[in-house]
């Protein structure tokens, strides 16, 4: 009996010791990982902040052009055909050079296509490139074209559907006559005329003209002036036909904003939901940059003119 009790006591002592040991191990375990990281310093650097960052709608095109120009500096003579150059320090890229003229539409795969002068993409069924396409002169697109990015140093005319996956940069004026996807970022240094349906995320241009003529705003019918910013939490619906209305300020809402008819907003439009611009409204002024920001979507129906910038994290649609 006494021996049994001794064994039971020993076993109980063991159990308590085991539990204590497990407890101490579990207590220490997380600290051990912390101490390892403290001494090894695998992730001890400060979070990275780009000290040179500033908002620039032409960022993609300009930085790519800088890389390309730097690479082309080492090229003695640009000949039509294939060439391998180092665009960045990471890897070599294959460039396909075309001199000015007519470009045949086909699948160019992973080649960067560089066109030296005024050109037309007009023969074949479809022009495809999974890399950037750069034109140093004016460019006309007359067949269905699908590219990762498009950089045009001159003007651009799009007559058949154009699909951009990433960005588009045009230094002259740009005419879009057919349904197109303008990618994540579309920058146009000149004027951007859109006469067909388009989808987009961000567009910047001196003026974005949808289904309208180029002329500057003229006032008729003794317009109504509203000075100051219109601000609403619920949403705003500005529908004006007949007497023109000029808002000399911003239009801001947490809800949807709908602007329709003869309304000229000289400031910005910002919504945490959707923005719809319809039938003749104008945002901004010639020579200035103003914005239309609809977090969840921007829809432009028939005629509208925006001087500056359109931005959405959702879906951007232009219906003409």
């Amino acid at each position: 009996m006494a021996q049994d009790r001794e064994i039971q006591g020993e076993s109980a002592t063991m159990t308590v010791l085991e539990v204590m040991l497990i407890f101490i191990l579990l207590l220490i375990a997380p600290f051990s990982f912390a101490l390892i990281e403290y001494y090894r310093k695998k992730d001890a650097q400060q979070l990275d902040i780009n000290q040179n960052y500033s908002k620039d709608p032409a960022y993609f095109g300009n930085s790519f052009m800088k890389l390309l120009n730097k690479s082309l500096e080492h090229v003695a003579e640009r000949k039509e055909g294939l060439m391998e150059i180092e665009i960045s320090s990471k890897k070599k890229e294959r460039l396909l050079f075309f001199s000015k003229g007519s470009i045949i539409g086909k699948d160019y795969g992973d080649y960067i296509v560089v066109i030296d002068g005024y050109s037309k993409i007009e023969e074949g069924d479809k022009f495809i490139s999974r890399k950037e396409v750069i034109s140093f002169g004016n460019l006309i697109i007359r067949i269905h074209t699908k590219v990762r990015a498009l950089l045009v140093k001159g003007g651009l005319r799009v007559e058949k559907p154009l699909e951009i996956t990433r960005w588009m940069h045009v230094e002259g004026d740009c005419y879009i006559m057919n349904n197109s996807d303008l990618g994540i970022n579309c920058y146009c240094k000149g004027m951007l005329y859109i006469k067909a349906g388009c989808s987009f995320k961000r567009i910047f241009a001196k003026s974005i003209i949808v289904g309208m003529k180029r002329e500057e705003e003229t006032l008729h019918n003794d317009p109504v002036y509203i000075k100051g910013t219109l601000r609403s939490k619920e949403g705003l619906n500005l529908k004006v036909y007949g007497r023109e209305t000029i808002i000399e300020g911003n239009v801001i809402s947490d809800g949807d904003i709908i602007v329709e008819g003869s309304v000229w907003i000289k400031g910005n439009i910002v919504s945490n939901n959707c923005v719809t611009l319809m039938r003749g409204c104008v945002v901004g002024e010639y020579g200035k940059i103003k914005s239309v920001v609809g977090k969840k979507g921007v829809k432009i129906v028939s005629n509208a003119k925006i001087y500056g910038y359109i931005h959405t994290d959702g879906e951007g649609v232009i219906e003409v």
């Binding site: 992730d43 200035k288 914005s291």
Partner: protein, 422 residues
């Protein structure tokens, strides 16, 4: 004796309930940041009609860091004819004055304000004097150890296109993270506090805080308030509540990130957090009743405002809770609500860090794309104890200020950066 034990038990119950409230608050913020709808500020807006802005840099013996902030501001892409930089030399007795005069001779838009002689020293006094000479309707403030990226002024100022915006706040990121354990832990605490806490409060239309640096406000608004209150050490929190009580709001811009220098020694950190606690609790005493009575705030803004105001008082209450628990334990009265006990301990465990619990920091790390540094999280247990003590001292300071009508004196945070330029 029975009444005392009863009161001690009630206090324990109250404390657990309060900790639970804060934990729920932090969970809601963390959940919102990863699963909820994210609200943007106005930084996506491009507008070339920017307002005239005055940039204030309060400085007291800042020779180690003055060059960095001034160089960074000179590099700003903001139109120079629409800005002025007013470094406020607040009774410096090192080379600060010479450095500022040197910059002023090179750049016409840098206009130092030298505060010398018998004028009282301190940030609120300095800011009030600068407000008198500032030309801009928008005021942006940087502490002297900050290094803003070149697009930041525009990113902050553009938010004032909304007439409801009274102030704007950017994100603070320590630049000296690798220096030692303290700076690494502060880096994590800042991440949780800004990347998750501030952004979630902005998303949920609660009360994101104006932090007194990397931020700006409308001059007319602060002049209407009668300027900064020199009796309050936390002039930033004071302004936040004044803004909300006046039916304006604060915009938080997570994208407007700016480097700061975090304290590198525990003694400096102790003084800093004690000062913050003292100032924050002064604001609590000042604004709690107006907040409850205000008709300009929603129900949830009031709830958030109350929790925000009390946040620097909680460590003191927890310290009392530990004492309470000890008394109850030794008097054999610890059996309070057994079924809730385990839950209560979990709640208490979760509250490590108090200002940014571990799950909040974890999500911030995920959003910032870092991983290994999160292994330091268990060490926040010690930070928690450290904060508990010095925040409690700060609370006692504030309470003493209130009772004795003592006037708080401003003490600047020591800088550690080695001046390698000029």
């Amino acid at each position: 004796m029975d009444i005392l034990i009863f009161l001690l038990k009630v206090y324990m119950f109250f404390l657990m309930f309060m900790i639970m409230l804060y934990i729920v608050r932090h969970f809601v913020f963390t959940y919102n940041r990863i699963c909820g709808e994210q609200r943007t500020s106005y930084h996506d807006v491009m507008d070339n009609d920017l307002p005239f802005v005055s940039v204030f840099i309060p400085m007291h013996n800042e020779e180690k860091v003055a060059n960095y902030i001034l160089d960074a501001l000179v590099e700003q892409v903001y139109p120079k004819n629409m800005m002025e930089i007013i470094p406020i030399n607040d009774h410096s007795n090192d080379r600060t004055k010479d450095i500022l005069d040197d910059y002023a001779s090179k750049y016409s838009y840098i206009k130092p304000l030298h505060r010398l002689g018998d004028e009282p020293r301190g940030k609120p006094y300095a800011l009030n004097d600068a407000l008198k000479v500032a030309k801009g309707e928008i005021i942006v403030i940087y502490d002297a150890d900050y290094i803003p990226p070149k697009g930041q002024l525009r990113e902050l100022v553009i938010n004032f296109i909304d007439p409801e915006v009274g102030a704007v706040m950017g994100r603070v990121v320590p630049i000296n993270t690798p220096r030692n354990l303290l700076t690494r832990l502060l880096d994590l605490e800042r991440s949780g506090g800004y990347q998750v806490d501030q952004q979630a409060r902005y998303n949920l239309d609660l009360i994101p805080q104006y932090g007194g640096t990397v931020g700006g406000f409308r001059k007319s608004l602060i002049l209407d308030f009668g300027g900064f209150d020199p009796r309050v050490l936390a002039e930033d929190t004071d302004l936040t509540f004044k803004i909300y009580l006046a039916d304006y709001r604060v915009v938080y811009v997570n994208k407007a990130e700016c480097y700061e220098e975090a304290p590198e020694s525990w003694s400096v950190r102790a003084r800093q957090i004690r000062r913050w606690s003292r100032g924050h609790n002064q604001v609590l005493f000042k604004h709690i009743l107006p907040l409850l009575r205000s008709e300009n705030l929603s129900f949830w803004q009031k709830v958030d405002g109350i929790l925000l105001l009390f946040i620097y008082m909680v460590p003191f209450l927890m310290l009392l809770g530990f004492l309470d628990a000890l008394i109850l334990f030794f008097s054999g009265e610890m059996e309070i609500f057994p079924s809730f006990l385990a839950l209560s301990f979990i709640m208490a465990y979760n509250s490590f860090g108090n200002f940014a619990p571990f799950f909040q920091i974890g999500v911030a790390g995920f959003l910032d794309g870092v991983s290994q540094r999160l292994r330091l999280l268990p060490l926040f247990y010690f930070v928690f104890l450290f904060n508990l003590w010095y925040t409690s001292l700060g609370f006692i300071d504030a309470l003493t200020d209130l009772i004795t009508r003592r006037r708080a004196e401003w003490h600047k945070t020591e800088r550690f950066r080695e001046n390698q330029r000029r």
